[in-house]
């Protein structure tokens, strides 16, 4: 994380709110929306059921490689999201993506795999608090009921017609929303409006 402050990594909704390295405490469990400092983003393609590939990737990513559909595994500085049967999105601390990619490429040498730097592709918005689920349901057709979508799950889906990756982090509930960067302002404004009836706050740093 030390590199985060050294990088000129401007948030995608900087016109409305500066991005946070750590989200501020939620005031009394209120519904809040913040942008996180854009993380390092790596797209990984490989056969996760090939034991050699799983070992190689696991060695670099602290054993993280979710092979079950729509699931996420994370450690302190890295989050791995399942995107498809042979595709993952790896989120690193800002600035760490280069080192992680180099390690992945070395570990996967000789295997049928691709490691691509997609940092800057998506913004990371964090919506948290009671009514977060209801807010999302206004524009997302995914069934977000706890029986169907729980902490540790992710989905590539559509929010108010914008393609997003959605990741539920905890039972607050807290959701990470990753729209493409050029859609981030639109998604931010749409969420701000959708939150209004729950007295939600889009927090500007």
């Amino acid at each position: 994380m030390a590199n985060a402050v050294d990088l000129p990594r401007v948030g995608a909704v900087a016109r409305f709110a500066s991005a946070f390295a750590v989200p501020p405490d939620r005031a009394g469990g209120a519904l809040t929306l913040v942008e996180m400092i854009p993380p390092g983003q790596i797209n990984l393609r490989c056969d996760g059921h090939d034991p050699r590939a799983a070992r190689a990737v696991g060695g670099v990513l602290q054993g993280l490689l979710p092979v079950n559909a729509n699931t996420v595994q994370s450690a302190a500085d890295v989050t791995v999201l399942w995107l498809g049967p042979d595709e993952w999105l790896i989120l690193t601390a800002p600035g760490q993506e280069g080192a992680v990619m180099a390690q992945l490429r070395e570990a996967l040498t000789g295997l049928h795999a691709a490691v691509t730097d997609v940092t800057g592709n998506r913004a990371l918005l964090r919506l948290s608090g009671p009514s977060a689920r209801e807010t999302l349901q206004k524009g997302c057709t995914l069934d977000l009921h706890p029986r169907g979508f729980r902490p540790g799950q992710c989905a590539q889906t559509v929010l108010a017609r914008a393609g997003i990756i959605l990741h539920q982090r905890d039972d607050a509930p807290t959701y990470d929303i990753l729209p493409r960067r050029s859609f981030a302002e639109y998604v931010w404004l749409w969420l701000s409006d959708a939150m209004a009836e729950y007295n939600g706050r889009a927090i500007s740093g």
């Binding site: 049967p85 057709t141 989905a155």
Partner: protein
């Protein structure tokens, strides 16, 4: 609105998908050997059945994978979803739902 079961992601709303037309069309091995009529048949003519239709869909806003759907074109009921490359043989339910229709087959060469 259809609820389509992506073979990889599970049930998702139709808006996440894009339609890819009739499935299991095989490109002629040697197009230059075909007559114009035969080539036009490959390019433009489709079965367009009133009944069970096997068609391709892509999970455009999800995993971006292609797969096949067996859908009844009248009721929109989805009878089966199967990955690309899987057998196209009709199962019992499909054979029952789609009796052979001479008029449709007559159109195809």
């Amino acid at each position: 609105m259809l609820l389509i079961h992506c073979p990889w992601c599970g049930p998702r709303d139709e808006i996440e998908f894009a339609y890819g037309g009739e499935a299991h069309r095989v490109r002629p091995a040697d197009p230059s050997a075909l007559s114009d009529a035969e080539w036009a048949d490959f390019l433009f003519l489709r079965a367009n059945p009133k009944g069970v239709h096997r068609e391709r869909w892509v999970h455009a806003h999800g995993c971006r994978r292609w797969f096949n759907v067996e859908r009844h074109t009248v009721t929109h009921e989805i009878l089966r979803v199967y990955p690309p490359g899987a057998a196209a043989e009709p199962d019992a339910a499909v054979a029952e739902a789609q009796p052979p229709q001479a008029s449709q087959q007559g159109v195809r060469s």
